[in-house]
Subunit: 264 residues, 4 copies
C-alpha cells in the first residue's frame, strides 16, 4: 500500500500571495519524507456558525488561484463545493471536489460532483454512521465515477462536541474506496465559542497518529502560519512550522501500519 497522501492547506483562501506562501511552506514540510500533498483551500465558507463571520474570496477568484497553485507547484488541488451548479466550474480548476459533511446526503450535489469525473472526497456527516456512507458513495458511483474518497471528520457526541470513532475507518474501507481521516476538523467544538466554532488543536496530532496506526489512505490536516489569527477554524489548525515534524511522525506510524504489521 502507498504511503498516505496529505490533504492540507489553509481553511480558506485569503489571497493569492497567502496561498502561494502556504503552498511553498507545505511543499517544504513534505519534502524530507517525500510525502505527496494535495493543496486544499476553500473559496467560500458557506455554512459558518454566524452571519457576521468572513465568507471568503469568492468562487471565480478562488478557483483561479487554485489552478495557479496547481500549475506552479505541480500538486493536485482540492476545494469544497456547496451547490450543484458549482461543480462543473470547480472541476475545471481542481483535481478533487470535496462534499462538505453537512451536505453529504444532498443527492443533486453528489450527482453533479460525480458527473464532472473529478475525484470526489465525501466528508461523513457528523450525524451519520460510518456504515451509512456506502449509500452516499453509491450516489456518486451511479454517475459512473468511482474516483471516490470517504473522509471521517468526527461524529456528534452530545452538544458542541465531536468524537472520532476509529472503528469507522475499517467500516468505511470495507466499501473498497480509499479512506481519509480529517484530524483538524475532528477536534472542532462546533458552536463552542458563541458565534464561531472552537477547537482543541492539541489533540489533532494525537488523533492523526491513531488514524495512521489504524490505517488510512490519506490524512486531512489544515494548517496556517498563524492559526490564532486565521479567519476561520483557527482553534483547530496546526501551525505550519510544526508540519514537517508532524508529517515525519505520522509517516513513521503509516509505514509501520503498512509494512505487514497491520495485519492484526
Amino acid at each position: 500500500t502507498a504511503p498516505f497522501a496529505l490533504i492540507t492547506g489553509p481553511c480558506q483562501l485569503e489571497s493569492r500571495e497567502h496561498a502561494r506562501m502556504m503552498a511553498e511552506r507545505i511543499a517544504e514540510a513534505c519534502a524530507a519524507t517525500g510525502t505527496r500533498f494535495i493543496f486544499k483551500a476553500s473559496y467560500d465558507k458557506a455554512n459558518r456558525s454566524s452571519i457576521s463571520t468572513e465568507r471568503g474570496i469568492g468562487m471565480d477568484k478562488g478557483l483561479q488561484i487554485l489552478a495557479d497553485i496547481r500549475a506552479e507547484f505541480g500538486c493536485p488541488v482540492l476545494t469544497d463545493v456547496h451547490a450543484a451548479d458549482q461543480c462543473a466550474a470547480a472541476a475545471e480548476a481542481v483535481d478533487v471536489i470535496q462534499i462538505p459533511a453537512f451536505l453529504c446526503r444532498q443527492t443533486d450535489l453528489l450527482l453533479a460532483a460525480g458527473a464532472t469525473g473529478a475525484a470526489i472526497n465525501i466528508k461523513k456527516g457528523q450525524f451519520l454512521a460510518p456504515w451509512d456512507m456506502g449509500n452516499v458513495a453509491a450516489k456518486v458511483a451511479s454517475t459512473g465515477n468511482e474516483r471516490i474518497l470517504l473522509c471521517d471528520r468526527g461524529t456528534s457526541f452530545g452538544y458542541n462536541t465531536l468524537v472520532s470513532d476509529f472503528r469507522g475507518l475499517p467500516v468505511m474501507a470495507a466499501t473498497g474506496y480509499p479512506v481519509v481521516f480529517d484530524a483538524t476538523h475532528s477536534v472542532q467544538q462546533p458552536g463552542g465559542q458563541g458565534t464561531t466554532s472552537g477547537g482543541q488543536r492539541e489533540f489533532a496530532p494525537v488523533l492523526a497518529r491513531a488514524a495512521c496506526a489504524v490505517g488510512v489512505n490519506a490524512l486531512f490536516i489544515e494548517t496556517h502560519e498563524d492559526p490564532d489569527n486565521a479567519p476561520s477554524d483557527g482553534p483547530n489548525m496546526i501551525p505550519v512550522d510544526q508540519m514537517a515534524a508532524l508529517i515525519g511522525t505520522l509517516r513513521a506510524f503509516d509505514d509501520l501500519a503498512k509494512g505487514g504489521l497491520g495485519s492484526n
Copy 2:
C-alpha cells in the same frame, strides 16, 4: 397564547389527487377542535438515504399543486427547499418555506429564503445544540425577515438514533421566535433500514404530548392514509384516520399548558 398550529401532510407529494384527498382528511381531522393547520408536503426528497429511492414529483408540478391546495382549502401551505435558487419560486406558491435540518447552516439558502419575505421554518440540525439556533435565525433575520420558526426534529444520539431533548424547546423559545416540535421526524431511525430510514411511529404521539406539556407554538406531524406503503418516511408517519383523536388529545395538553398552569 394561541393554541398550537399544526403543520401536517404527507411526507411527499404523490399526485394532485393524493394531496387533495389528504388535505380533505386533515381538514376533517382538525375540524372538531378548530385546529389551524398548515398543509405540508415535499416536491423533492433531495437527501434520501439511497439513490434507489423515490425523489418526488418535481418543483414546478409540486408547487402548482400546493398553490391549488391553498386556494381550494383556504389553508396555508409549506414546503421545503434545497437550493437558494428554489426559494423565490417556492415563495410564490407557499406561505412557509422550510429549511431542512441538514441545511440549517447553509448561509446562502437561509439568506435566499429570508429575502422572499415568506415565513421560514428552520429545522434544527441533528448535529446542533438548541442554543446554536440563535445564530442560524440571525442569518435569516439579517435579510429583514423576522417571520422565523425554529423546529426541533431530534438530535443525534449514537448511531442511527435521535433523541428529543425537551430542554431545547424553552432554550429555542428564548430567541423570541415561535418554536415547533416535529414529532414524526424525531422518531426516525436515520439509516436504520439499510437503504431507507426506519422509525418508531408508536412514540410520535408520546413525544408530541410531552412537547405540548412543555409548551410549543406549533406541532409538525406527518400523516398518510397508508403509511406502510408510503414512498418515504412511512415508518414514522401517523395514519390519517388516527389524526382527529391525536389532535384532540394534544389540544387538551396544549390548552392546559397555556391556561396559566404552565408557569412552573
Copy 3:
C-alpha cells in the same frame, strides 16, 4: 389509574430537625392536591464527585430519623443503599429501598434488597438503555419480590450532560412495573463543576411536565429550603416554597393524561 405518587425530600439528611422541617413543609405543599408523598433522604452520599465533599449523617442515625419521620407524619419513607449488607437494616426503617443508578447492575445488591420484601426503586443507570431494565428488574424479582419501581434519571449524552429520552418511560412500563421519572437528577450536569456536579434547576419542572403528559406512576423531585446552600445536589433541587405550585401544575397534567385522553 391513580394520580402520581411523589418521592420527595432533601438530597441528604442534614439533621433530625431539618428532616422534620422538610417533611412538614412537603406535607403542606401536597395538602391542597391530596398528593401522596414518600419522604426521601439519603444517610450517606456514597459516590460523590470528590472526596472533599460531605458524605452524610451515617446509617444508624439516618435510618432512625427516617423511621421517626414515618411515625410522626404517617408517610412512607425511602432511602438509598450502597452495599448488600445495608439492605436488611434499611428495610426495618423504610418502606422503599432505592438502588442508585451507578449500582443498578450489581447483582448482590439487587438480590439483598429484593430479599427484604421492601419495595425497591431501581434507578436506571445513565449507561443503560431503557429496554435493558427488564433484566435488572428480573434480578430483584428472582427473590420473589415483585414490588419493583423503575426510575429514569437521565442517560449519558456526551460528557458532563444527561438527556431524558421520554420514549424510555413507555418502554420501561412495558415490563409491567410502575415507572418513576426523576426530574431533579435528570437535569444534573455530572462533574460539571470541578469537584461537584452542576445542574439546571430551571428545567426540572419542564421535564416533569413532559413526564406527566407521557404518563408516569410516580415523580421524584428533590427539594430544599435553600438549595444554593444545600450540602449536595443544590444546583438541581427545587426550592420547597415552589413545591405546592409545581405539584398543582403537575397534577393537572397527570389528571389529563390519566383521564382517558392519554390513549393516543
Copy 4:
C-alpha cells in the same frame, strides 16, 4: 518510557486448570517480545446483564488460584473487587486490585482498595468524562496510596454502544498516573444481545493499535482459548492463539510511539 505492560487473561476464572493453561499460553505469547504481563481473571461477575448467567467461581477459591498462578508463573496478578470488604483479602492474593467501571465513584470501595497498599487499576465509568477521573484518583490517593492506574474502557454513545475517545488518554495522563487502554471491553455492546452483552472482537486490535500510537503505559486485552464458548465476554475476547502476533504488532507501535517520535 518502558514498553507497555499487558493486563491479560480470561474474563472469568473457570477452574484452576483453565487458569494455568491460559497463563501458560499467555506467557508463551509474550515471550518473543519480552512483554511483561499481569494475569487478570475475575472470581465473580457481579454485575452481569441477567440473573440467569454465570457468576463465577467465588472469592476464596478464585483468590487462591490467582495466588498460585503468581507463584507458579512469577507474574503479577490482578482481579476486580465489588465491595469494600473484599479488598483486604484480595490484596493478600493479588498485586493489582481493579475497580469496575460502574463502581468507579463508590467512595468506600476506593478507600478500602487504596488502604490495602496494592496497586489500584480504576476503570473509567462509561458515564464519566476523562477529566473527571482526577477526582476519582484523589479518593484513592487520600489513603496515601499513589499506586494508581487509570483505565479507559469506552464511553456511553447512544444505547448499547460504547465509543473510545482517544483524547481521553492524554487527558487522563495529565493526572500523572499511568494510563491503561482496555481494548476488549471498549468493543462491548452493552446489553446488545438480550440477556448478555454483545461485542465486536474484530475491532479490539484496531483500537489497541490506535492506543499504542497515542501512547499508553499498559494495555488490557482479555483472551480465551475458545471465546465463542466462554462463559462471559466471549464476543469481545481475543483468541489466545492470535495473541502472540497481536502483541508483536502492538509492541512495534508502542516502540515507535516511545522512541522520540511521539513528541508531536
